[in-house]
Symmetry: C2
Subunit: 647 residues, 2 copies
């Protein structure tokens, strides 16, 4: 796409929130002007490393990445609209970053300031390559957004430094990162610079993984010391859950032999994203097949209905097919960000609506749920149900917060939300040959350079509230083109009219879940595409034991939940009448949303003298109100439930 | 009671299992003749310490206690009936124990063999006092069962050694155990020997707790080394869950100031048991009030319907009032053994049927569930529901085994079951003044020495299957006595006839849940006491969120569950019609039991192409079979559920 502007009330509001609240707020945190639970020190670390300030390193070993992710979001924002003041701030810190870089290109404030002799000695735990990857992503975004290449230069020098240290050659280190990210960073750097060595280095990091015992050897070399305990430990990693320790970081097998998503969910999807991107860039069919089976394993067996992943807090990890508990899951916001990126790369490899479906689920439900409507409070963990008293009392549920937090000492999620929302444009549309593929119905104005010529068009939609999308050709001059319109998985009925002329459904030309409209286009042409969004109930596959007898309410891409604010406490007493009518109502609070009303029955319990007493069933008919899952917990702390028993 | 014999098919069968299977099996394990996952070495450690064998200590720091608990069960068994071969085996090992004891009375094979210079240096973690307590309990049981006092002598010498080391005096150590148990051991030793110093030492250990920073000081003295990691750690204990570390071992406050049960459940109830016993022995009203509030906190807010306790595997601990998850709980068998003992001590302090109710729940449901009908497989953890696939896949549920294990390296539960069953007689009846209190309706023949004279009587019952108990006076000679018959909490209706003469319910003389029958007794008198045992459904207090809309099926003291063996898989799809009839059927397998049949509805799910698909409710009427919870998992691995949704 040569040009794209967002024209969506819904998304422009989110972009405003990110620009006006989240980005300044994050800046405040990174510069320690806003101090939450733990001060960040991220900017200060760079100033110290640059010699501009005195002091010691503070924060986690991966603290640098928080700043890089902020810069990536800023780059995205500046591409969207100019903001001289923000750009000045960013340029200033980019200056410090450049000055902090060592002569050979090395850059990581933790090791430079705290343990200069230990560089590259603990790849498994110490996130050096992870931080480098985020620098590369930020540099490309910033170059794209501003045309400035100072950060890009820093990133390239660091990439070159890494290239001198790591690789297949005998005199180089044969390691790879404990937290994947550099693979994708290098691929983006390759995309932007065209430098072949970055592609090769990314391939190296992917392909070396799981093929040698480098992590074990470096562990022995450093005297079996763990970064986290600063003392000797028995194994390089802790065994996690029922798996050997290598599963946690996905080095249990060469990547091409991996077929099931395992281990730390964020690490996993970051790696799969890079694998998919590399497969496309290298036209590597085998690698693509691997990616497909990993993607299918996630989407078809290990993903929540809201597009979140990671069934357990133990290792923030995947567990096994169909193990999807509602009240003890982890489902990190970052993991859904990674899943969106993985799906987007898969979509570049093959047009199939399944990818856009998952992106839509993860985006509208989990990513948006990760941030309060005030843009200043965040969820790391995204449960499918929550009772504040239980989450407070029970250790297996205590990782679930029932109030969004101001910040986190390990602050990965808020910046990830920022860079996703500011880059929302990248999810809408792709062009290949004469084909213009619409993946997400986000109101926008676009110019597509097709193989046949340029087509400028507007996409008007009120997603996620209304299922109508109008594509109007603004400029085309008789260019032939194929519009491929994703038919969402949730859509039961749809209607198309071209210039007011209805197309009969039996005449629909579809291809892997996309409706194809082939035509020579001229300005003024109008595609009127309506996807039915009636709310309805969903059931999970029977093998998801946790959801037996339960249903979830959805409307279009949105999953709904019930909250205590609307329905009182003890929500688990409620059951929904899935055969009853579902009434819609437009609400004005929380930025405006469509609420749903359903009939149900409440099995009212009683506060009784004895903990256990004779059963006396007290049923009452109730009208239940459901709100979009992504808006939960914006009206104070309270219970929430997504999967509800049916009557 | 001067004499007591069990005359109950049900309990004699269990005594047979313990005598014929469990005790020999445990002996095989303790002597390494049977090797399960981890060899025990418990007997070998003593032989080495006695100089009768060469070698090194093996096993946990608390390994000695496994042998002591076995000896306690053997002592109980020998009191029940002579067994020269078993007694010979026990005497032999008692000889080694005596020879292992040091001149000053010290005895603990771990420290003697492995770290002789570190005695009493790590009370928090190293279980020296815990093992000593178990020796004392075993010694008293063995003396009672055999009349022999060699083990008692060893126990007293160790108690005296401890008495020289610990106490209020300035020149003694002011510590107390990290795992409570010695308090109860000393109180039993006092009971048996009448030596006042044992009572005082027990009181010391209780009262010093939570009043000083001894655990912190010893931690500093040993250079902050943890026994478990053998390396330095930051704090004496790990913080556990949401609580400061002192809560885990209940030294967060002086015991008299504790009102809520917290921390490791077994440690907690062992301590409360000793507190209650000390309160009675010392007529300490204040301490008794503390015990009452702790007991009520457990029984009224933190106990499962099966009498098990410990809602979380994190610290094997209590969490908070009404937090009673069904699928992630810990509920260690040992904790229920401790709860029975605590309740029994409370019963000695005050006659109230609530204590007998809890004892009955814990005994018939959890303790018996802890052992397979073969006497060779055991549960440590007692869930309220379980799905094998989930327990295998999900880390928050992986501590739940869905097949009883052969043994455990930390083998506390099987010996605890053995000593409870072999001491079952102690739970039946107590005598105080002219009052003969029947707490548990376990068929038996008893002779009570009341203040007015001796009364011999038989208690005939087919508990837990039938609610009739017949008390027949065998010998009395016109002795006045008051029979106090516990009216179980589960009993809705009851009938009494004295010598064939019905007593009208309005003439019942009751006192705190006991029916009082006052009379001058003569041989041949018959009390025919019938407690209605119709099966019915129970609901939990509304604050137990996990059980909203659910019910549990009970019959008399037994809680029932549904198993996959009878009802197929995906049990969570089933709901019970709580208003329908409940049909009883006598079954011959698993030692014979009463099964229950109930009408219900199954919300049948489907294995579908998509993980999430449009809801299509498929209900079908089903007949569900329930079996006693304590018998679950005796017919192969499969799903089990206790709390079921009602229709």
């Amino acid at each position: 796409m040569s040009e794209m502007r967002i024209r969506s009330d819904f998304w422009e509001r989110y972009l405003d929130i990110v620009r006006d609240c989240l980005i300044p707020y994050q800046w405040g945190v990174l510069t320690n002007r806003i101090v939450c639970s733990t001060p960040s020190y991220a900017v200060r670390n760079f100033k110290i490393a640059a010699g501009a300030e005195e002091g010691e390193f503070s924060g986690f070993v991966f603290q640098d990445s928080d700043l890089y992710k902020w810069l990536e979001a800023v780059g995205n924002l500046l591409a969207y609209e100019k903001d001289p003041e923000l750009e000045r701030k960013a340029d200033e810190i980019i200056g410090y970053i450049a000055e902090a870089q060592e002569a050979d290109g090395y850059l990581n404030t933790y090791f430079q300031l705290k343990e200069p002799e230990k560089k590259w000695s603990n790849l498994l735990e110490c996130h050096e390559l992870y931080c480098a990857g985020h620098l590369m992503e930020a540099a490309v975004a910033y170059a794209r957004g501003t045309g400035k290449d100072r950060l890009l230069g820093t990133a390239c020098r660091l990439a070159d430094c890494i290239h001198r240290v790591f690789g297949w050659e005998e005199d180089k280190l044969h390691g790879c990162p404990g937290h994947q990210e550099i693979e994708l960073g290098l691929l983006k750097l390759y995309d932007w610079t065209g430098e072949d060595r970055y592609l090769k280095l990314a391939s190296y990091f992917l392909e070396i993984r799981g093929t040698n015992s480098y992590f074990e050897e470096e562990f022995e070399r450093r005297g079996r010391i763990s970064h986290w305990t600063q003392g000797p430990v028995e194994e390089p990693n802790r065994h996690y859950n029922q798996y050997p320790y290598s599963y946690y970081n996905q080095f249990h097998a060469p990547v091409r032999c991996q077929t099931e998503a395992v281990g730390h969910a964020v690490r996993a999807v970051y790696m799969y994203t890079a694998m998919a991107k590399a497969a496309v860039l290298c036209k590597d069919e085998e690698l693509l097949r691997t990616c497909k089976s990993l993607w299918k394993n996630i989407a078809e067996t290990q993903m929540y209905i809201t597009g979140n992943i990671g069934s357990t807090p133990s290792g923030e990890a995947f567990t096994r097919a169909y193990d999807l508990p509602n009240d003890t899951n982890y489902s990190e916001t970052c993991a859904s960000v990674g899943l969106i990126r993985f799906s987007m790369e898969m979509l570049k490899a093959e047009l199939d609506s399944c990818y856009g479906d998952v992106i839509e689920k993860a985006l509208y439900n989990t990513v948006l749920a990760g941030m309060a409507v005030d843009g200043r409070h965040f969820f790391y963990v995204n449960p499918m149900e929550a009772v504040p008293e239980i989450c407070e009392a029970n250790p297996e549920r205590n990782h679930i917060k029932t109030v969004r937090q101001e910040w986190y000492s390990c602050a990965c999620c808020p910046p990830n939300i920022a860079r996703t929302i500011t880059d929302i444009r990248s999810l809408i549309c792709s062009v290949s040959g004469s084909r213009i593929c619409i993946h997400q119905y986000i109101g926008s104005e676009l110019e597509a350079e097709t193989g046949e010529g340029a087509i400028r068009f507007s996409l008007a939609s009120d997603f996620p509230w209304d299922g109508r999308a109008k594509i109007r050709i603004l400029q085309a001059d008789g260019v032939y083109g194929e519009f491929a319109l994703r038919i969402p998985g949730w859509c039961i009925g749809c209607r198309l009219a071209i210039n007011g002329q209805k197309v009969r459904p039996e005449d629909f030309d579809t291809e892997r879940g996309y409706l194809m409209v082939k035509r020579v286009w001229k300005a003024g042409d109008l595609l009127d595409w309506v996807m039915d969004m009636e709310p309805h109930f969903i059931q999970a596959d029977r093998r998801v034991y946790y959801n037996a007898g339960k249903a979830a309410l959805v409307r279009g891409p949105l999953v709904y939940c019930m909250e205590e604010a609307d329905n009182g406490s003890c929500l688990h007493e409620c059951r929904v009448d899935a055969a009853g009518d579902i009434r819609e109502k437009w609400e004005k609070d929380m930025g405006g949303y469509c609420s749903l009303f359903i009939a149900g029955v409440r099995y009212r319990g009683r506060i009784q003298e004895k903990l256990y007493d004779r059963l006396a069933v007290q049923k009452e008919d109730v009208c239940l109100k459901a709100v979009p899952y992504f808006l939960w917990n914006n009206r104070g702390q309270g219970e929430m439930v997504t999967w509800v028993n049916v009557v």
